[in-house]
């Protein structure tokens, strides 16, 4: 009788340990196979106009970086240039007076959208903001985005 109780207790512990182990494996599997969602399906944290957005960085870059970095933002403005290469199609919106600019690198599945655009088009682009900093090469400020897509 006592032996049966002991075996039953060990069995319960073993089952609990296996469940915990499977749960841990499932969590790790999820964390390491997780992929960024298609930005088209992600809700934006902010919606801004390009000119005002650049001004905000110019006014206080530290505060703007704290507010916007790694956030999903919809930026509206007029395209200044499209820089295309084999695997890229980056959209640029420039501030012609200061030389500062915003650049949007598109998600692979949305590259065709960027390639179809041209300078002068008014667009709304949604992407993950990587913040702003100063370029010593260009002697101007820039704000960079990754995983971008068009919203319209």
């Amino acid at each position: 009788m006592t032996g049966n109780k002991k075996r039953s207790g060990i069995k319960k512990w073993l089952i609990a340990a296996v469940i915990l182990l499977l749960a841990a494996v499932a969590v790790l599997w999820y964390l390491f196979t997780e992929k960024f969602d298609d930005t088209k399906t992600v809700k934006a944290d902010y919606t801004v106009e390009a000119g005002a957005f650049m001004q905000e960085f110019k006014k206080d870059i530290r505060q703007a970086n704290a507010k916007y970095t790694e956030k999903i933002i919809v930026v509206s403005g007029v395209i200044s240039a499209i820089e295309m290469a084999d695997t890229t199609a980056n959209i640029k919106i420039n501030d012609s007076l200061s030389g500062s600019y915003i650049i949007f690198a598109f998600q692979d599945q949305h590259l065709a959208e960027a390639r179809a655009l041209k300078a002068g088009d008014r667009v709304s682009i949604k992407g993950s903001c990587s913040g702003g900093n100063y370029s010593e090469i260009l002697e101007s400020e820039k704000i960079e985005f990754k995983r971008c897509t068009l919203t319209k």
Partner: protein
Amino acid sequence: MKKTTLILALVMTTGSLFAQKKTTTSAVISFDATTAIDALPKADNKTAIASLDTKTGKLAFEVTIKNFAFSNPRIQEHFNAEGWMNSDKFPTATFKGDIKNLKDVNFGKDGSYKVTVAGEITIHGVTKPIESTGTIVVSGSKIKATSDFKIKLEDFNVNGGAIAAGKVSKEPAISVNAEF
């Protein structure tokens, strides 16, 4: 007055036609730190800034660490964290150097030219000398510069348990591709 304007316009046009410093804001820098047991630590940055002076051979790159795009959110977060690249404190990586065999490159003639580039690379706030080979392809008005090389993470004070555990390569492969 008209003559002065004409001369000024001529000087400006000639200057832009023969401009020697070329820049791009869409150079691609990729790194691959994958190992046999982890295929995730690799990423591309498609908005690197590069400049090339075709007269002096001076070459420079700047890349924003936070704009490296990973497929996995967790790995991207680790990459930017304090224990790794600490991108809040060290937001950019840079390279400044020269093409050592500039005389072998004819920027006025289409072709593929092997070059050796030497200079200083700064990553994670640490500056080290570096030398690498690369290729410059001239095609009409376009110049394409590519190079592949490896860096040792410990040289740049980038250490972590994942490296010791074999999940991140001690010597990631870096690939640079710039079109001017």
